[in-house]
């Protein structure tokens, strides 16, 4: 199959990133004190931004159905708890999830393009994407070809993303960089720029299969790429840190970062998501603590 070339000379040279400076900036975000009303509002926001995820070889209809119910009913013992933003599943589970979530605002996201390694042909990647979209996926989470990226074949990476984007049609495209394999922040920045200019609606840190995943350093670097693109073009791109964010505190630090870099405009599940499976319960635990003054044990929160 012939690859259409989309790459243009519009991609700017990515700025260099100084890791020590990034860490210093992160420390400032982490020293923000989120208390009282701000905490309550923040925690509710976090819940509404979660992509509840199951991406296992052993996923079954039963598992996906249970997770979909949880997506709509995070904690019915309490009023006013929002639903999550989406569920994220493999393409073969999309139809099931879609059916379970009919008549709800919860979206269905599907990984595609040979997730998680992406080590397959472009033709298969496009087929994979097409299948997920046809099954009803509202969002596609694709992986970039990290091997190609690391050998300097940036045009290949760019063209591949652009081709997948075209195949997505109306589905929103999230581009997973798998930052744990890119290693340096300079690489993360370059990959972010490539993904954004190739048409990503969202950029996403990780598959969840590789460590480290969504560190604040990586998310910060990607948010800066989004910021620069917005300043240049006026177009908003979404951000999804995925993997490794399992506590309410860390999630709130991420929101602080989004607020201070991109502004409150990005603080909705249209533009910011958490890819996480265990985060929701920690956030619920904190919310219950705020309301009742006591912590409840894990057994009071359903696992899926």
């Amino acid at each position: 199959m012939e690859i259409k070339s989309y790459i243009s000379n519009k991609i700017p040279v990515s700025p260099s990133i100084d890791k020590v400076g990034v860490e210093e900036r992160i420390a400032r975000f982490q020293s923000r004190s989120i208390k009282n009303e701000a905490k309550k509002q923040g925690l509710n926001m976090v819940l509404s931004m979660i992509d509840l995820t199951t991406l296992e070889g052993k996923d079954t209809e039963g598992k996906v159905k249970q997770m979909c119910y949880k997506a709509k009913h995070l904690h019915d013992h309490f009023d006013g708890i929002p639903q999550v933003a989406a569920v994220c599943v493999y393409p073969s589970m999309v139809a099931i999830a879609k059916n379970e979530l009919r008549n709800s605002s919860v979206k269905v996201a599907s990984v595609a393009t040979g997730f998680p390694s992406g080590q397959t042909s472009l033709a298969l990647k496009l087929k994979d994407t097409k299948f997920a979209v046809e099954q009803g996926a509202d969002e596609i989470d694709m992986v970039i070809s990290r091997g190609k990226f690391l050998t300097g074949e940036f045009a290949y990476v760019f063209d591949e993303i652009a081709a997948v984007k075209e195949t997505c049609g109306k589905a929103r495209l999230k581009v997973i960089l798998e930052t744990g394999e890119l290693v340096t922040l300079d690489n993360v920045r370059k990959a972010s720029d490539i993904a954004i200019y190739a048409g990503a609606d969202f950029i996403k840190t990780s598959t969840g299969k590789i460590q480290p995943a969504a560190t604040m350093q990586v998310t910060y670097t990607m948010l800066m790429a989004i910021r620069d693109y917005y300043d240049e073009t006026g177009i908003m791109v979404g951000m999804k840190p995925a993997g490794g964010i399992s506590t309410a505190k860390l999630a709130l630090h991420n929101l602080v970062m989004v607020k201070e870099i991109l502004g409150t405009k990005w603080l909705s599940n249209e533009w910011f998501r958490f890819g996480a499976s265990s985060l929701a319960n920690d956030v619920l635990m904190q919310l219950v603590k705020i309301e009742t003054g006591v912590y409840q044990s894990n057994d009071y929160f359903s696992i899926d």
Partner: protein, 484 residues
Amino acid sequence: MKKELNDNWDYSSSLEAINHIQLKKKYNLFIDGKWIAPSKNTYFKTINPANEETLAEIASASKEDVDLAVKAARKAYTNVWSKMPASERAKYIYRIARLMQERAREFAVIESLESGKTIRESRDVDIPLACNHFFYYAGWADKLDYAFPNQKIESLGVAGQIIPWNFPLLMAAWKIAPALAAGNTVVLKPAETTSLTALKLAEIIEESGLPPGVVNIVTGFGETGAAIVNHPDINKIAFTGSTAVGKIIQKALVGTSKKVTLELGGKSANIIFEDAPIDQAVEGIVNGIFFNQGHVCCAGSRLYVQEGIAEKVIKKLKQRMESLYVGDPLDKNTDIGAINSKEQLQTIEKYLKIGLDEGTEMYQPKCTIPKKGFYCAPTLFLNVAQSSIIAQEEIFGPVLTIQTFRTVDEVIQKANNSPFGLAAGVWTDKGSRIFNLTSKLRAGVIWANCYNKFDPTSPFGGYKESGFGREGGLHGLSAYLKLS
């Protein structure tokens, strides 16, 4: 749903508790291990610059009180401290460091209350660094032979030390710790607007069992400082403060045998090259000038940006300034606290007016400023010329002047074209360029791809009108020794 959720998500106020601190209504002078009323029975009020409320009354030391303090210090030096084995001296210094650490929270709150600096900085920077200075010099006390091998090492005697209001406890630590480690005794005068943490330190010194008279704290105004400088039985003067006062001190000491170190003003250049990590450089600009409301002698107050990226840097800097919170120093989310005094606020405002009169473009972000207390919004002056007054004189506030440059040689010339020479910052991805600049910039401290980083092991001090002598590290230790 999401509209309601994200509507104006702002941080709720998060005030540091102050119920745990212990402040007396009135503080006397700490002389010879005792709290002594000032001979003329005069006291002055110290206020919280964030709300102008009185915190305590502080004794004003007269010439006679200073004389008493110097006599106590001399007696302690001759009879006790100079005779004590160095390893024993070290134990006292360690003990002071540990006691400070244990009471770090109280120190941080008092420092913020009186100086106006944010609790984030006093908690994370000032107090831990002050403790570290004591720990660091405690380690050297019994190893002076190794610090300065093959030299004869003698202590100096009584050190008179005068410190400023911008880092009250930290400056006290910079002065006292090396002096004690080198075997000297001390008479220290804190600045009149920030006496409290030095007096709390005196309480800790008392608790530590340090022999009476080894450290004496005399509070007061300029006359008290003059009495220290002019006292005939002092062997060493260490001063940190304004260049104007530094010049007076230097004149007063001409022809005397007193050793002297002066750490004075600055107008430090922060230089951004085209290949710099731009977002981190912007952060470095913010840390360089807005740290401690710009009340920093080494503040990166002259920004030089290479022309190719000037527009981008300024845009990003303005964006970054939108997320700076100005307000109550005790709120954990405050980035820029209160200006230390009404006088200093007036000085800053005078320079803002000069800048506007000079026809420079001024920028301040939208921010809410408390009605009571002394505050100044973070300020940029754009399109500034090398010949502008605001680019030449030290403002000592959150005010940054921005100039552009084209070539490396040009920026070296411009950076050095100043009566001051305290610090500089260099931002570039190129290591060789960093070394080229560090060897050509006439500044005591040069930071590469960072700014305002302090460490007890690293010497600090200036060239030209920024003073002479070094504090910190072995250099700082040698300033309190006679080496031959």
